[in-house]
């Protein structure tokens, strides 16, 4: 069973979200990294880029698959975790430390799930 920290919020498309110093931090869940397998490439936006709720802002690629990462909020990219560009395997090793982007000036937020609701999503996809 995948690791789903209770203090985070989630999307049904397997992103995790937390609020930190007025920014929205977005990452990929343990379930997502485990489904993808060994992650070997990530394409991230740049600081200052706009992200739009529901749109893909990054490509994450494993040996066998490509997955978009979808933004649960609209806003402006305030920070990018550039360590992932050189070492995308960090996403496999510790998905909840390996945040992708931090978003400021959030204008719109989509539907977020708590840990229990997200666990139900994972269970339904595993079945």
């Amino acid at each position: 069973m995948s690791n789903i920290p209770a203090e985070l919020q989630y999307t049904a498309s397997h992103e995790w979200i937390k609020n930190e110093d007025g920014l929205v931090v977005i990452g990929l869940t343990d379930f997502a990294q485990s489904s993808l397998g060994d992650i070997v490439f990530i394409d991230l936006p740049q600081e200052g880029d706009a992200v739009t709720m529901g749109d893909s802002f990054a490509d994450v690629e494993s040996v066998k698959a490509v997955s978009g990462v979808f933004s649960p909020v609209s806003g402006t990219v305030a920070a990018v975790n550039s360590a992932l560009i050189d070492n995308p395997a960090l996403l496999n090793e510790n998905p909840y430390d390996a945040w992708l982007i931090k978003v400021s000036d959030v204008t719109n937020t989509g539907e977020l799930l708590d840990a229990a609701a997200y666990e139900a999503v994972c269970k339904s996809e595993e079945a």
């Binding site: 397998g37 070997v40 490439f41 040996v63 066998k64 490509v66």
Partner: protein, 360 residues
């Protein structure tokens, strides 16, 4: 509905992540992941369930003539115990399938085909038999394991006296006794590495898997899934049906000239291949130099001119690079040629390189 190989429960027990493939439920990877599985085969050994592959037995006094008629390679002077790669073409020179042929005797040959093509292959074979040949689809009574990697000979030698094993690449020995199980042991594989493909009765499959796993436990042997099978074959530039070849691609375009003997009196597809002359597109290797990973069926450009399409592509762990194969115009196929691949709408730089990417 997907079928299970005799090893399905073992894969689940071993932590395999099961996916449907070619009509079968098979593990795409185990807990260690594709990269570790790939590297185990390059550096130690890996064990694969390839029981989904199809097997057709050809027997009878004209079996040789039938194979020479159906297939592009020449089996005339093939000794018993040899294994030979071939293509099977349609009458337009397109590839129906690629396969390997085992010769047991002058009147008995085993042909191993891709799982996804098994039924169409058998239908084509059965429709083109010469009088005096019988072809029988025995796929459901054959299980196959692949033991691949530099440690494979030492692992198998723990179970069978080394002199009873096939010594040369593309040779095979029948009726080898492995822990009381009768097996066909073939020095072949789909990884670019030293190793064996081992055929046995389905009821032996679980015991054979466990016996090999036990024999290899101190040699770094791990179970490997379809994911590593694909990255390994790609890195070794081995073609995969449905990617580097299909019924609209000729074996010459796919770079399989070595398996096509135009000097033979006749075979299905020969006239079309003769008429088409030298191919206008050829299979090349691409090393991705930009940021990204090319996958199959992505357009390849020089400037604004599309020169071809990728046929397979991924990140290859042992070479440590994103690599792809592509069919491109022969006039732009020289190694060193700089190209771009359209990766989901984004141009990523690449350079044409010689194949294979990896050679042991």
């Amino acid at each position: 509905m997907e079928l299970k190989t005799p090893l399905y429960d073992v894969h689940v027990e071993e932590g395999g992540k099961i996916v449907p493939f070619a009509g079968y439920l098979l593990p795409v990877q185990y807990a260690s992941g594709v990269i570790k599985e790939h590297m185990a085969v390059r550096q130690a050994a890996g064990l694969f369930d390839v029981s989904h592959m199809g097997e057709v037995l050809f027997t009878g006094p004209t079996a040789l003539d039938t194979l020479n008629h159906l297939l592009t390679n020449d089996f005339t002077n093939m000794p018993a115990g040899k294994v030979r790669y071939s293509v099977m073409c349609n009458d337009r020179g397109g590839v129906i399938d690629d396969l390997v042929v085992y010769k047991f005797s002058d009147e008995e040959y085993l042909v191993v085909v891709n799982a996804a093509n098994r039924h169409k292959d058998y239908a084509h074979m059965a429709a083109n038999l010469l009088p005096g040949t019988k072809a029988e689809d025995i796929s459901d009574s054959v299980a196959q394991l692949a033991l691949q990697g530099p440690a494979a000979p030492a692992i198998l030698a723990k179970l069978v006296p080394a002199e009873k094993l096939p010594q040369k690449y593309y040779t095979a020995v029948r009726d080898v006794d492995i822990a009381g199980m009768k097996c066909l042991v073939s020095r072949t594989g789909y990884t670019g590495e030293l190793g064996y493909e081992i055929y046995t009765a389905p009821e032996n499959a679980v015991n054979l898997w466990k016996t090999l796993r036990e024999a290899g436990k101190d040699d770094g042997l791990i179970p490997c899934g379809l994911g590593a099978r694909d990255t390994l074959r790609l890195e070794a530039a081995m073609p995969l049906y449905g990617h580097e070849m299909d019924e609209t691609i000729t074996p010459f375009e796919a770079g399989l000239d070595f398996g096509v003997k135009m000097g033979k009196p006749d075979f299905i597809g020969k006239a079309a291949l003769e008429a088409s002359g030298r191919p206008s597109r050829v299979r090349v290797g691409l090393e991705i130099t930009g940021r990204g990973i090319a996958r199959e069926h992505q357009p390849v450009f020089i400037g604004d001119e599309q020169i071809g399409m990728t046929t397979s592509g991924t990140h290859c762990p042992a070479v440590g690079k994103a690599l792809a194969m592509a069919l491109v115009d022969v006039s732009h196929s020289e190694p060193g040629t700089q190209v771009d691949v359209d990766v989901r709408g984004r141009r990523v730089g690449a350079v044409i390189v010689p194949l294979p990417f990896y050679h042991r």
